[in-house]
């Protein structure tokens, strides 16, 4: 009776799978009640799963000096990296409790959607469609950028119009690619896009001379320009062809986690506004100013409302510093990039940075 032995062996398997599918069918239906009501509040909580894991998983580029870059010592640095560290400092009081994941521009959104990374801090432009159809939830802007074009100094190209009929290197999957098409269409300039997936290949192809120009966010051009074979031979055209607000993002559907990331970014700005930095944060603990007391968590329970500790902002400043410190360390005058603060200055000093009240 070998055959009946076979059926005996198969039967439990079939039942197991069948019952399993029943289960999954039920759970699939529970979040949204039948009908057209929107998805119910998500049941999952990312912060809980990060807590149990003991470290934050942060998606970065790893290819753009000043934003996220792996140095010769194997350490990550950059403003995007410091945002990850600030979040880890707020969560664990430890800025090193971060696992960095290098993601290219194509992988980044899927990695976030599928939960491969908890947060994406990877010079990503905040756009309407990404906010809606791609399923991202953006935190506040950490860097206001604009797209520009770099050309060779000896090329006689002085403006966008001179690029008529020329080849321009672009990276795919970026807003850059669309902005370029928009601008050229607007001015009816025909050009030849040479598009690559990999940022290194994009710049290498430009360096080899295949393209007459290369376009990217201004900051990225400055940053990658420093590692071109002959940085001094290239020049960035003055025309800025788009606005690129770069912001960290989390996956939609977990408002609590999104709020935590949002207020970590605000903490950096707020700290600069209040004049609190990594050196003097200890002295401010004794301050009598109620605004500062609430901010540092010596009074009230703002942090608990976020699911964090009340002193989360103090933790961030102690370990990572305020926005000015983060900026100066990665992009400021003492670095190779030497980018002026410009619009990335506090609102009170003529820039765009502003934090809603901590109350």
């Amino acid at each position: 009776m070998r055959k009946s032995a076979l059926i005996l062996a198969i039967a439990p398997l079939v039942f197991a799978i069948a019952s399993c599918s029943g289960d999954s069918g039920q759970t699939a239906n529970t979040p949204g009640t039948p009908g057209s009501s929107p998805a119910a509040p998500a049941t999952r909580n990312r912060w809980d799963s990060i807590k149990s894991r003991g470290q934050l998983s942060c998606g970065v580029s790893g290819e753009v000096p000043g934003f996220s870059f792996v140095g010769t010592d194997g350490k990550y640095s950059g403003i995007d990296v410091d945002i990850c560290r600030a979040i880890a400092a707020a969560l664990f009081d430890n800025p090193d409790a971060v696992e960095f994941r290098n993601l290219n521009s194509k992988e980044r959104f899927t990695a976030l959607q599928t939960g491969e990374v908890d947060v994406l801090s990877r010079n990503t432009t905040w756009t309407l469609s990404r906010d809606t159809s791609v399923g991202l939830e953006f935190a506040p802007v950490v860097f206001y950028d604009g797209q520009a074009i770099m050309v060779r100094k000896n090329s006689n190209i002085k403006s966008l119009a001179d690029l008529k009929g020329k080849a321009i290197c672009v990276q795919t999957g970026t807003t850059t690619e669309q902005n370029l098409a928009d601008q050229m269409r607007k001015r009816s300039i025909t050009y030849k896009p040479v598009v690559f997936e990999d940022v290194n290949v994009t710049f290498a192809t430009y360096a080899e001379g295949r393209c007459d120009g290369i376009t990217a966010d201004r900051s990225a051009l400055v940053s990658r320009g420093t590692i071109l074979p002959k940085p001094e031979d290239n020049v960035i055209l003055d025309e800025v062809i788009s606005s690129e607000p770069l912001a960290p993002a989390v996956a939609k559907g977990d408002a609590r986690w999104g709020d935590a990331v949002k207020w970590v970014v605000y903490s950096l700005v707020k700290a600069e506004e209040l004049g609190i930095n990594s050196q003097n944060v200890g002295q401010f603990a004794a301050s009598n100013d109620p605004d500062i007391k609430r901010f540092l968590g010596t009074e009230g329970n703002l942090g608990e409302g976020l699911g964090l500790t009340n002193d989360f902002a103090a933790r961030i400043i102690k370990h990572v510093g305020n926005y000015a410190e983060v900026y100066d360390r990665n992009l400021g005058p003492k670095t190779k990039l030497n980018l002026a603060r410009g619009q990335n200055q506090l609102w009170s000093k003529g820039g765009l940075l502003y934090s809603p009240p901590f109350r």
Partner: protein, 308 residues
């Protein structure tokens, strides 16, 4: 015999049907589970599954297009441009690689020591290094190292070679296209060379001797007697190589040639429709592969020995 009818579970036909049903059942369950999981995850992210995005404006430019294309066209039109670009490389690649492969395969059996060994070195190098590496080599080390357009190298007066690609009197091939085409041709050609060599060697030695004894010169003996017989052995694995070449065109993304995979990944990046776009890509390559298989199988049937 009254009980000649066997018990049903002792009937092999019964078990064949049952096992088929079990297999179908399991497959359906797996699909249902995956589908439910997908729906649940997309719902949590607030993303709708659907192909409506294909009608939206693509708003990105494509460097090379054989049909008219503007950034104001739809994503589906952009995907067509990509598909045509893929087919262009695949068709040209299959044509050229057949010439290279058959040539090298025959040359490996040449009596001439130099020819034999040069082809051996070619086959071993190209067969044993990754295609991606070879494509990057062709692109960066070969095409981008050529001089600028102003001082292009002229071959036989009518082919211009420069960083701008191959300039033929009637059209220009971009360096991305040229690098991809040559990379695929020589890589696949190395495998085809081995297939052709195996095919020729499978023809019994007696056939050579018979052809010679009829007074045929070696070249004619190969063409009229040996090669047609070798084809029977060559065609099935050759089909696989054509399929590989077609699928490998997707590596175009590494060197900036806008094939279907490239355009599709830009599309999915901008729309966030990863699942839909991946399904489309799979369907496209499946269709291409099945088409090649069908055509090659028909060809195969025509060269097989017809037993009468």
């Amino acid at each position: 015999m009254t009980n000649s009818k066997p018990l049903i579970w002792r009937d092999v036909r019964f078990w064949r049907i049952v096992l088929q049903l079990v297999a179908v059942f399991l497959a359906v369950i797996v699909v249902v589970i995956l589908w439910g999981n997908l729906q649940r995850n997309l719902q949590q992210l607030g993303i709708q599954f659907g192909f409506d995005f294909l009608k939206q404006q693509a708003s990105f430019d494509i460097g090379e297009a054989l049909i008219n294309y503007k950034p104001t066209d739809t994503y589906s039109h952009a995907l067509w441009v990509g598909l045509i670009n893929s087919l262009r490389v695949a068709v040209a690649g299959i044509f050229l690689t057949t010439i290279v492969g058959v040539g090298a395969g025959i040359a490996r059996l040449s009596d001439n020591w130099l020819v034999r060994n040069i082809t051996m070195v070619y086959v071993e190098i190209f067969r044993n290094t990754p295609l991606l590496l070879q494509l990057l080599f062709w692109y960066f080390a070969v095409f981008l190292s050529f001089p600028k357009t102003e001082n292009k190298i002229s071959l036989w007066g009518f082919i211009g070679v420069s960083q701008n690609g191959l300039e033929l009197p009637w059209f220009t091939l971009s360096p991305e296209f040229s690098a991809l085409l040559l990379g695929l041709t020589f890589y696949t050609g190395a495998f085809i060379a081995e297939i052709v060599r195996g095919g020729i060697q499978s023809v019994p030695k007696g056939q050579w001797e018979a052809a010679r004894s009829l007074g045929l010169k070696p070249g004619l003996a190969m063409r009229l007697v040996i090669f047609p017989q070798a084809l029977r052995v060559i065609i099935p694995p050759l089909t696989s190589q054509y399929l590989n070449l077609t699928k490998n065109t997707s590596l175009a993304i590494a060197i900036g040639y806008p094939d279907i995979y490239f355009v599709a990944s830009t599309t999915f990046n901008q729309t966030g429709k990863a699942v839909e776009v991946i399904l489309l890509i799979m369907l496209t390559y499946l269709t291409l592969s099945l088409t090649i298989s069908v055509v090659m199988n028909l060809f195969n049937r025509s060269v097989q020995i017809k037993e009468r």
